[in-house]
């Protein structure tokens, strides 16, 4: 069941800081079992680097379960690597074979400045959420949870969008460096739910315009969907576009009529 990979060549991006220029550094992994996860392979490499008195490769990771959205590697030209619907941390060496050359790069986007080596700063995502990615609900004042029924299909659709782990792979994969999938996923999650209606249009407007100040534009390449570890569909982008358009023309004083 388990077998061993031999002679992998890693080309890893090393860069000292945000304002310095970086370059690829080549390492070889003589052998490793395919049970290992991709990040465990880098752990092992780092152990070796430290033993040789070199600095370990800096990369972002935490939960290693594909849920926190911290891990973020461009592997052989694909965000999160070759396996569909999988975050970097869940990628296992099974997906590779002996003798492979693996190129590892950080996410690249002006809104994701490189901090060091493979680690980037994704706070621009937080700014988008801060702009309106919430439902204003003061603590304590909430009515009984079952007061507003939410049809199952609706809550399922909201959940599909809400699954976004904020990893930034959509931006990394998008040829235009657009964050439409992330922003649309956040907007869709809240705008589909009854609780989200009151702020629906201001939310769409504020979040889209904040997104605009950091990221590129969507020309519907669909790369983001392919890279998304949660396989969020670009349908949400259409939804966002529609809500943004309505936000501009809606008479918000009469929303309750519709």
């Amino acid at each position: 069941m388990t077998n061993t990979l031999k002679n992998l060549t890693l080309k890893v991006w090393r860069q000292d800081g945000p304002n310095t220029s970086g370059s690829f550094e080549t390492h070889t992994i003589e052998e490793i079992t395919d049970e290992a996860s991709f990040l465990e392979m880098i752990d092992i490499l780092n152990e070796r680097l430290i033993e040789d008195g070199k600095e370990a490769i800096v990369f972002d990771h935490d939960c290693r379960e594909g849920i926190c959205g911290t891990c973020s590697l461009m592997i052989n030209g694909q965000a999160h690597g070759p396996e569909r619907g999988t975050a970097t941390c869940q990628l296992h060496m099974r997906k590779f074979s002996s003798g492979d050359t693996i190129v590892i790069e950080p996410w690249r986007a002006s809104a994701f400045p490189i901090i060091r080596d493979l680690m980037v700063d994704r706070s621009s995502f937080d700014r988008i959420v801060e702009a309106g990615g919430y439902i204003t609900a003061a603590t304590g004042g909430a009515p009984d949870a079952n007061l507003i029924p939410v049809p199952k299909p609706v809550s399922d659709a909201a959940m599909d969008a809400a699954q976004c782990i904020g990893c930034g792979a959509c931006v990394a994969a998008c040829p235009n460096g657009a964050a439409n999938l992330f922003t649309a996923a956040k907007i869709t999650h809240l705008n589909l739910l009854p609780q989200g209606q009151a702020e629906r249009y201001s939310r769409a407007e504020d979040m889209v315009e904040t997104m605009d100040s950091y990221f590129g534009s969507c020309t519907n390449h669909g790369e983001c969907e392919a890279a998304c570890p949660k396989e969020i569909s670009i349908d949400v982008i259409a939804l966002m576009n529609a809500d943004y358009r309505k936000a501009k023309v809606q008479n918000r004083k009469q929303l309750s009529r519709t």
Binding site: R108, D121, P175, A178, G216, G222, E223, M240
Partner: protein, 260 residues
């Protein structure tokens, strides 16, 4: 927009500086999503024109007909009809000019949006990936929209100078559309240009028409699976229809004989 990495506490990021609201169209157009919406609308106008134009041009195959008791080329009548459109409500040619202005406006807007979005996207990733990208979904059409578009633009310019103003058309006769067509397209390089341009247009529409559904926010499980099909269909029809003219001209199916 380009982020320089800075530290320190984050707060008040969503406190709006009360900027005077711009008039809503301008305001809307000022965001990328708004621009894409405009591209879609102008794109639709473009598509409508192209299809109408192609259908009109197909009359070239009807050759000579009897019109007000005299022998004329059907397509010339069509041209005349365009100019006579809405007469007597509007004077001769006005309606056509209206349409022309609409088209010109659309192309200008479309172009401006395309240009500014392209710039935006450039800045969104100033440093390209250093390793090779391995695209999963993005296809040739979607990645070459700018080029296919520009090609079409260049073609339009040439085309107008050729068949509308006649500068590049040997012995151009105003209104003698059939004759002008034959004169122009029987030249092999010109025919080649027409073919190339229309293939480019087809590619542009192949992605463009699917893309406009998303940009317009037209998304509904009931018809989503048709969107790509519609795009392919329109692109194919335009290419087949338009490319047929130069070919048929070279093949001699479209060939002009003076009618006494």
């Amino acid at each position: 927009m380009s982020q320089t990495f800075q530290r320190g506490p984050v707060t008040g990021t969503a406190v709006k500086k009360r900027s005077r609201r711009k008039p809503f169209l301008v305001d809307y157009y000022s965001t990328a999503v708004g621009k894409k919406y405009v591209m879609a609308i102008t794109g639709i106008i473009g598509v409508a024109f192209i299809i109408g134009h192609m259908v009109g041009n197909l009359k070239a195959y009807l050759g000579v007909i009897e019109h007000n008791g005299e022998q004329v080329y059907d397509i010339d009548v069509y041209g005349e009809f365009l100019r006579e459109l809405l007469v007597p409500i509007l004077p001769h040619g006005y309606a056509l000019w209206g349409l022309r202005l609409l088209l010109i406006g659309a192309v200008v807007l479309h172009l401006h949006a395309a240009w500014s979005l392209t710039m935006l996207n450039r800045n969104a990733r100033p440093v390209k990936y250093q390793g090779a990208r391995d695209y999963q979904i993005a296809n040739f059409a979607s990645r070459t929209m700018r080029w296919s578009g520009v090609l079409v633009l260049v073609f339009i310019a040439w085309h107008l100078a050729d068949l509308t103003w006649g500068w590049l058309n040997p012995g151009f006769e105003y209104g003698a559309i059939y004759r002008n067509l034959d004169a122009s397209l029987s030249r092999i390089p010109v025919a080649a240009l027409y073919i190339a341009a229309n293939i480019a247009l087809g590619i542009h529409l192949f992605h463009g028409v699917w893309s406009l559904f998303q940009s317009m926010g037209w998304n509904n499980p009931r018809f989503n699976r048709w969107r790509k099909g519609i795009a392919t269909g329109i692109a194919a029809a335009v290419v087949v229809g338009n490319v047929s003219f130069p070919i048929m001209t070279l093949a001699g199916v479209i060939s002009f004989q003076p009618l006494s």
